[in-house]
């Protein structure tokens, strides 16, 4: 079987959530099928500037074919078009223009996908919201398997996407919440789909002492790993943590590992390490009392799974449906929805070590049951085999709906996506058979 993994950026040094997800999947599926990655020459997800050489490349033994992006993103234009589609009544043409502005607009990539449809059995498209996934899935819908990595943001309410969700051959979801949300906006219950998620390459041996010595960290600490950004909930985390530190006599230190986008408040108990290597990251998480995940918008959160894989409990933002659902299903993490809950839950995890240990053990068991690589690989291969067995007639009934005509595309009949999202059910998904498997 020959598979193409189509993703917006790809590289060993690219650590974005969906991109890393795609790389892990490509590298692990390479054991079961012939894999080629189709991607752009961009390295920066904000500008989509062509920084890598077009043509064939190889990353960790997986062949990669890069295509240039036609034009960099114009932030002003993208902002205006985002306001238009998210906040105002608009047309389908506005949404297509928004998609073009968002990028990475690489017609060469889409043309290659269209032209080489016979070369690959299936195309795995990552990140539904980008140009390559939308146009690529439309070009080869009968061979398209979508890995949406969708978050509960305004983009999911755009009218251009439901036909894609209904028209692809299969969807590999990251979480039950993501599946429920996509099914609510698109009504794609008939499309084969499975909640898979992603594993992680957890080292067999971690040395927290090495991390402590290297960074001069003594005493117990909580850790946050990821981009230090407003969108990741870091401002709220800083506020809540400072309140917690004021109230406790011997509070934990907060260690931050990641590139900062917002200023970090000067505080004796907040330690910023900058970007750290994978080795340091795993050592740091293994040595922490807990991992804090303050993001409101997550499609899965790999670092949360990594903390569980290392037997550490998690304190997550409960306003994120996915994180709250994961905590409830795994029984391996606490969550907070306001400052008082943050302080109390953090205190509980810090002071009640048996509880923290028990949560960590549950996390490890949950990870091994649902996110260990053999489980993930099996879910992918099972799905692909299921698609192979699927009758052609049944597959053809789910052909992707064509775009409406020229006039219809320009009629401003679509409501603002914020309005659409307000009607989509929220909250953690209740899964009756969480223990039995996903």
């Amino acid at each position: 079987m020959k598979l193409a993994v189509v993703v917006q950026r790809y590289g060993a040094e690219i650590n974005g959530g969906a991109e890393l997800h795609a790389r892990y999947i490509a590298e692990h599926l390479a054991r079961h099928a012939e894999i080629e990655v189709l991607t752009t020459c961009a390295r920066d997800y904000i500008t989509w500037r062509n920084e890598l050489t077009p043509g064939l490349d190889e990353v960790n033994g997986v062949p990669v074919r890069r295509f240039p992006v036609q034009r960099e993103r114009d932030p002003g234009q993208f902002g205006r078009r985002s306001r238009r589609v998210f906040e105002e009544r608009h047309s389908l043409g506005d949404e297509l223009a928004w998609l073009e502005s968002e990028g990475p607009a690489s017609r060469a990539l889409v043309e290659h996908v269209r032209a080489s449809r016979q070369r690959y059995d299936y195309f795995l498209f990552f990140s539904y919201r980008y140009y390559h996934a939308y146009h690529g899935a439309r070009a080869v819908s009968d061979r398209a398997v979508l890995v949406p990595t969708a978050e509960r943001d305004e983009a999911i309410g755009l009218a251009i996407f439901p036909p894609v969700f209904r028209g692809v051959r299969a969807i590999m979801y990251n979480s039950f919440e993501e599946r429920a949300m996509i099914q609510a906006v698109s009504g794609n219950g008939a499309v084969p789909g499975v909640v898979v998620g992603i594993g992680s390459d957890i080292p067999e041996r971690v040395e927290p002492a090495r991390f402590r010595q290297k960074h001069g960290i003594a005493g117990p600490y909580a850790i946050y790993v990821g981009r230090i950004d407003e969108n990741k909930g870091c401002s709220e985390l800083f506020t809540f943590f400072q309140h917690y530190a004021r109230r406790r006599r011997h509070p934990l230190t907060l260690v931050l590992a990641g590139n900062p986008v917002i200023p970090i408040p000067p505080h004796p108990l907040i330690r910023h390490l900058g970007f750290v290597s994978d080795e340091d990251k795993f050592d740091a998480v293994a040595g922490a009392e807990l991992l804090i995940m303050p993001s409101r918008l997550e499609s899965l959160s790999m670092v949360t799974l990594e903390a569980w894989a290392l037997g550490r409990p998690v304190l997550a933002n409960g306003t994120c449906d996915v994180l709250k659902g994961q905590c409830l299903r795994s029984n391996a993490g606490l969550y907070y929805e306001n400052e008082a809950e943050f302080v109390e839950a953090l205190y509980m995890l810090e002071a009640n070590r048996p509880l923290a240990r028990a949560l960590g053990e549950r996390g490890l068991a949950y990870y091994q049951r649902h996110y260990a690589w053999p489980v993930i690989e099996r879910k992918y291969t099972d799905m692909l085999e299921q698609l192979e067995r699927e009758p052609v007639v049944e597959a053809s009934t789910r052909r992707l709906e064509p775009l409406p005509g020229w006039w219809e595309r320009r009629r401003p009949r679509l409501p603002p996506t914020r309005q659409v999202m307000a009607d989509v059910p929220a909250g953690p998904a209740v899964v009756q058979t969480a223990e039995s498997g996903q």
């Binding site: 205006r80 306001r83 238009r84 905590c327 409830l328 795994s330 029984n331 391996a332 993490g333 606490l334 969550y335 306001n338 008082a340 809950e341 109390e344 839950a345 509980m348 002071a351 009640n352 048996p354 509880l355 240990r357 028990a358 949560l359 053990e361 549950r362 068991a365 320009r410």
Partner: protein
Amino acid sequence: MSDFSIRADSVNVEEIMRRVRARIREKRGVDYTEEEIQELAAVKLEKFLDPQKVRSELLQHFQRTATAPPNFAFEDTTLFESHRGIVRVIRRLLGPILKLFFNPNPLVHALHIQSQLNTRNAQHADLSYELMHNLVVELTRVSIEVKNLKMRVESLSSRLDFDERRARALEGAVQYRPGAVPAEPPSAPEPPVRDEEGEAGAAGATGAAPGRSRRRRRRRGRRGGGGEPVPAGPQAPAETGSMVERAAPSDQAPADTSAAEPAAAGARTGEPGPARAAEGAEGPDEESGPFNQ
């Protein structure tokens, strides 16, 4: 914390979170919930804040005035736009002719900037509202806390006053501790020798300060002209007894013979007597002992 189950297979995060919330409610006690604080901030500010400085309907008023008309996005194509495609095309075709009459570009540019300014102002208004709202809520919370703290300080200060008064009253009372000193044999035939060494030894045995015994003897010695002389012999056992004297200034009494006699009697029988306090508080020069300060 001990009430939480610690077996990994019996951990229930939902239950733990219920307990976390219960603990938060317990800690708050008589404190207010978020909703109550919001309600108080919106309605009952005058109860907690100076009504001359912060108006209770401030937020509603600000919200009312902050609602601006919808902004009009103005782009370079706006002037020529139409919902009818044909009209739009004609306008675009006639654009060069229009430019023969006047240059619309500065107008488009100015209106575009104005549109951006309007957007920015609207965002600032939202931020200001949020800031104002948070400030009022926080101010209310702080005011409630200050009020509670004031009440607590008042309560503590009244308790402190009470304790001080009680301490003073106790200092004035005479306490007898029968087990503090081995009882003197009742048939002590001879009074101890009244030399300095003997006194010191007696004082050491009873725990009474030697200086106090000396002072008392000195007083009695000086009292001769004021009243009936007190015999020195029977007084001596009293000096070695377990009586602890505490004389508050209010307990001061004139030293007369009527007081001196029962004192001597009490000393002899080993029972406490009010006269001992009176005796100990004869004059200001005696109030230097640790119990009389």
